[in-house]
């Protein structure tokens, strides 16, 4: 049976954060109900087309999945279980925003088979949270964690951001200290990207907010990683750390170029050399399903050359690096024959190192990974 990761998208948020450029809307009850119906239909349709896939990981992301009713989540999970073969030790994650979770919700999540929670903490500084348009405060983060533990979640991620408006290294380290008290299994740490057409971008351009310099931002990154590693976390990807054995299996699937199906508005799927994505507008999404079609907006056929490049581009993001042996087995090519020059050049400039048959980004390489990655492109 073919294996795949499954991504489910819930496009609703109570409010858009100031830095966010994803499609998400507050949504009313009618729209949420309707979306649920169509999502269920899409799951049924996809399973009838793809046959019985073995699902090893599920990731319910958004938006904010925790803003829709817990019964909807339960129904979605039941449908998945009915339509696909959900592995008995599958990793099933749901994204949660502090301030949107109740004890009942958390219990029903657990009963539905969800065993991992990913909490959008972003910062433990109320001032900064307000500045970037988050709906919650520090106390609500603590409450959310309490609820999750109470409901029996034993694998919890916290998303953190750095390089935030008016944030200093000291501010970020305080957030990290406070985060330690939450006793998480996993931490994702993202440098903020000012995306065009976001409120924050607009403010920044008008000189209303100041952003940390590139040097300050990199300081936060490296100091943050060092701090977390001193606290028993292990970095396993550019932006991800976990306690031993708690790496996110779903995300590892992406970086190892394994198959995944994305269902719901604007989700992406990738099966072998074919990648496609769903409509990002509700009406297109609904109409396609009404017509009995998968709500696919576009697709891309990835040539073998590109597939190989993507394998390297994604793989090098992992701290363990790229295994030359795995590569050669998968692509039947001599790695050094093809990339020897590139590897030596970047080794000389200190971006990568070659250790035990693996190519790994150095500390500097983690800052400048694009410089290495472009050389993997055909």
């Amino acid at each position: 049976m073919e294996k795949a990761g499954l991504y489910i998208h819930i496009p609703f948020c109570e409010r858009k954060c100031h830095y966010c450029d994803f499609t998400s809307i507050p949504g009313n009850k009618d729209l949420k109900d309707r979306y649920e119906e169509y999502l269920i239909r899409e799951i049924l349709l996809a399973s009838s087309i793809y046959g019985n896939l073995k699902i090893e990981t599920v990731f319910i992301g958004g938006g904010t999945p925790s803003v829709i009713h817990e019964n909807s989540i339960r129904r979605i999970m039941n449908t998945i279980r009915r339509c696909f073969t959900l592995d008995s030790d599958a990793e099933v994650t749901i994204e949660i925003n502090p301030g949107t979770l109740t004890v009942d919700k958390a219990k029903i999540y657990r009963e539905s088979g969800i065993n991992r929670a990913s909490v959008g903490i972003q910062s433990m500084d109320d001032g900064i949270l307000k500045r970037i348009g988050r709906i919650h405060n520090e106390q609500q983060v603590k409450d959310t964690l309490k609820i999750l533990r109470l409901a029996g979640f034993e694998n919890i991620n916290g998303d953190l951001m750095f390089g935030l408006p008016h944030q200093s290294l000291k501010d970020f380290m305080e957030t990290l200290e406070k985060t330690m008290l939450l006793d998480l299994e996993h931490i994702s740490m993202y440098g903020l990207i000012l995306e065009e057409e976001t409120l924050l971008y607009n403010w920044y351009n008008r000189g209303l907010v100041s952003m940390p310099t590139e040097d300050e931002e990199r300081d936060m990154y490296h100091t943050g990683i060092d701090f977390l590693e001193s606290k028993g976390f292990r970095q396993y990807e550019i932006s991800n750390l976990s306690r031993e054995g708690f790496e996110c299996r779903h995300n590892l699937g992406y970086w190892r170029l394994e198959s995944y199906i994305g269902l719901g508005l604007s989700s992406h799927s990738s099966m072998g050399g074919r990648r496609y994505w769903n409509h990002s507008g509700f009406s297109n999404y609904f109409n396609k399903l009404d017509a009995g079609d998968l709500p696919i907006e576009g697709e891309e056929i990835i040539s073998n050359d590109l597939l190989e490049a993507e394998y390297l581009i994604l793989g090098i993001r992992l701290k363990e690096g790229l295994s030359i042996e795995d590569y050669e087995k998968r692509f039947k090519l001599s790695f050094m024959g093809k990339y020897g020059e590139v590897i030596h050049r970047h080794e000389a400039s200190g971006l990568i190192e070659l250790i035990d048959g693996r190519i790994k980004l150095t500390r500097k390489g983690m800052d400048l990974s694009n410089q290495v990655e472009i050389d993997f492109l055909p």
Binding site: I193, I238, Y254, S267, H268, R275, E300, L368, S369, I374
Partner: protein
């Protein structure tokens, strides 16, 4: 259709850019009925798209119109178009030489401009009858009476009878046609005498070879005849003669007084130069027509194939352009930074820009252009005199006794309110004030001597910016003047980049060096290491800037939905890198070579 000489009128239209020359030409063509409205393309005379975009006419053409006048007779009008820019002064003078009259179009709101003046004087030099016409009379801000006074005062030609027209609406354009019949003299010249014809334009096409636009002054020319170009000495057999209406119409012959075209299997416009006299090989005329000049380039620059572009493709394109443009010269040269390319000579800055744009648009080439240079005269201590247009060829300072640079005399016509700003600009450009003439209470002409090397740097842009486009400007080469010039080099990561080297006045070097270094910091992407940019005279560093090392080039988030987007971003980044020039370990984008020239608003 043979016409009596007394029913022929040969004339040009002279106007400043935007004063409505092309629109008037359109109306004349329309109203003489040679073309139906359907055939009328906007602005028939301007052939190249580029010209149309800029609203200027670069290559001239002649059109033959038939007009039935109020006196009941049919007249043949040969309307000869002229380019409107100082770069093409010589070509203008030759096309005017083919005429007996000129219609001077002056905008009823703007009045006389410097460029118009330059062309009017050329027309007066040719003894042409000048018919002033006031255009854009329909605009609310039109002030025809004042403009008439201006024409009389400034140019000194009678203008109170000048037709007041709106070329756009066709208002009073018929009056212009009648004035041409009445006032422009008919051509003279003996059709029985040996052939004497003036080439006032030529262009190449791959079917017929070179087509010459000619004005026959004496004798006759017909197919089968052997003709000789008196300046180049080459003979050709005439294959076709005719006139141009909306298309070429072949005729049996062209006689004294007529204007038309001639083809003779000529392969290159160099063999049929503008201004040359065509005569009968067997019965040559005694004297060629006066005024022939071999055009000399005033401005030089390097043109190099950009990354991924082939040297030979660029050479082929330049050769093709040269077939049509006798003023373009080029020869191969090598730059350490840019590899193999060409040193090209142009009539002026506009001519240079036109060639660059044609290479890019018509030939779809990706090229790098180096900063323009003029010809410097270098007298070495040995007494030897060299002409240098590529800064890299300048001898070492110890071998130089002194240097001279070309000086132009410039006329700047401006509303009085900008006089201060212009004087400051000219001062800044090492100009020498000659005098200032009041044209009227609110307008003056400033006469300056300016070093050409300052003019070609950013003078036009600066003038435009400082006068909000109200000043007009023309210049002509005056001569050479001794000057304290130095070669300034730019070093990127301690490596000298010859393509950036410039010859500048000693007093300007520091400022120019700093500006260039600052701009390079902006356009050169950051590298994994810090990159110093230095400006130097010899071994002395006069300016220094640093491109900070790149600290961050990483995508923080990369999950399922990000992969395609991320790959595309990387592809774009790689594409950008490909278009860069590798100079040592530094990648320099092509636009860096252009930014050196840009006008600085500061």
């Amino acid at each position: 259709m043979h016409i009596k000489q007394e029913n022929i009128r040969n004339f040009s239209i002279i106007a400043h850019i935007d004063h409505g020359k092309s629109t008037l030409a359109d109306r004349l063509i329309e109203m003489t009925g040679m073309l139906t409205s359907r055939e009328m393309q906007e602005q028939v005379l301007d052939k190249m798209d580029l010209e149309r975009e800029r609203g200027i006419t670069i290559k001239l053409k002649a059109v033959r119109l038939v007009y039935k006048a109020r006196d009941g007779q049919e007249y043949v009008f040969n309307l000869i178009d002229t380019p409107g820019h100082v770069d093409f002064n010589y070509e203008v003078s030759r096309s005017l030489a083919a005429c007996e009259g000129a219609v001077l179009v002056v905008d009823a709101t703007q009045g006389v401009e410097a460029q118009t003046l330059a062309n009017v004087y050329l027309a007066i030099d040719q003894d042409l009858e000048i018919l002033p016409v006031i255009n854009k009379i329909d605009l609310p801000s039109a002030r025809p009476e004042e403009i008439k006074d201006e024409i009389e005062d400034i140019i000194g030609i009678e203008s109170h009878d000048a037709p007041l027209i709106s070329a756009k609406d066709g208002l009073n354009v018929e009056q212009v046609l009648e004035e041409i019949v009445k006032k422009v003299p008919a051509p003279k010249g003996d059709p029985k005498a040996p052939l004497k014809a003036l080439i006032f334009d030529s262009y190449y096409d791959s079917y017929k070879g070179v087509t010459c636009y000619i004005r026959v002054f004496e004798g006759q020319v017909k197919p089968g005849m052997m003709v000789k170009m008196m300046a180049t000495g080459k003979s050709f057999e005439v294959t076709e003669v005719g006139v141009n209406t909306s298309k070429h119409i072949p005729l049996d012959s062209l006689s004294a007084g007529e204007v038309g075209y001639l083809t003779a299997s000529i392969k290159n416009v160099k063999e049929a130069r503008v201004g040359d006299t065509i005569t009968d090989t067997k019965h040559p005329t005694a004297e060629p027509l006066p005024g022939y000049k071999k055009v000399i380039p005033m401005v030089y620059c390097g043109i190099y194939p950009a990354e991924g572009e082939d040297f030979n493709t660029v050479r082929d394109a330049l050769e093709k352009l040269q077939v049509n443009d006798a003023a373009l010269v080029f020869e191969p040269e090598t730059s350490v930074a840019l590899g193999f390319g060409f040193r090209c000579g142009f009539l002026g800055l506009l001519h240079m820009e036109i060639i660059q744009e044609r290479l890019e648009r018509e030939f779809d080439l990706n090229i790098i252009t180096t900063a323009p240079s003029v010809i410097y005269r270098v007298t070495k201590t040995s007494g030897e005199v060299m002409e240098i247009q590529n800064p890299s060829n300048l001898p070492v300072p110890a071998e130089i006794d002194f240097m001279e640079e070309p000086i132009v005399s410039a006329n700047i016509m401006t509303p009085t309110e900008y006089v201060g700003a212009i004087m400051e600009l000219c001062q800044n450009k090492r100009g020498t004030f000659k005098n200032m003439e009041y044209l009227e209470e609110t307008r003056v002409v400033l006469h300056y001597d300016l070093p050409l090397n300052e003019v070609i740097y950013d003078f036009f842009d600066a003038l435009k910016s400082k006068t909000r486009g109200y000043a007009s400007f023309d210049y002509e080469l005056k001569g050479y003047k001794q000057s304290e010039l130095v070669k300034m080099d730019i070093l990127i990561n301690s490596e000298l980049v010859d393509a950036f080297s410039l010859i500048v006045h000693e007093d300007k070097a520091y400022e120019r060096g700093r500006t260039i270094a600052e701009r390079l910091v902006d356009v050169i992407p950051r590298h994994q290491f810090a990159v110093p940019i230095q400006a130097a005279i010899g071994s002395k560093i006069i300016a220094r800037e640093t491109i900070r090392a790149l600290r961050k080039d990483v995508l923080a988030k990369c999950y399922g939905g990000d992969i395609s987007r991320k790959r595309k971003l990387l592809e774009k980044q790689k594409e950008g890198k490909k278009r860069m020039r590798q100079i040592g370990s530094v990648e320099v984008p092509q636009e860096a070579f252009l930014t050196v020239l840009k006008y600085d608003e500061k």
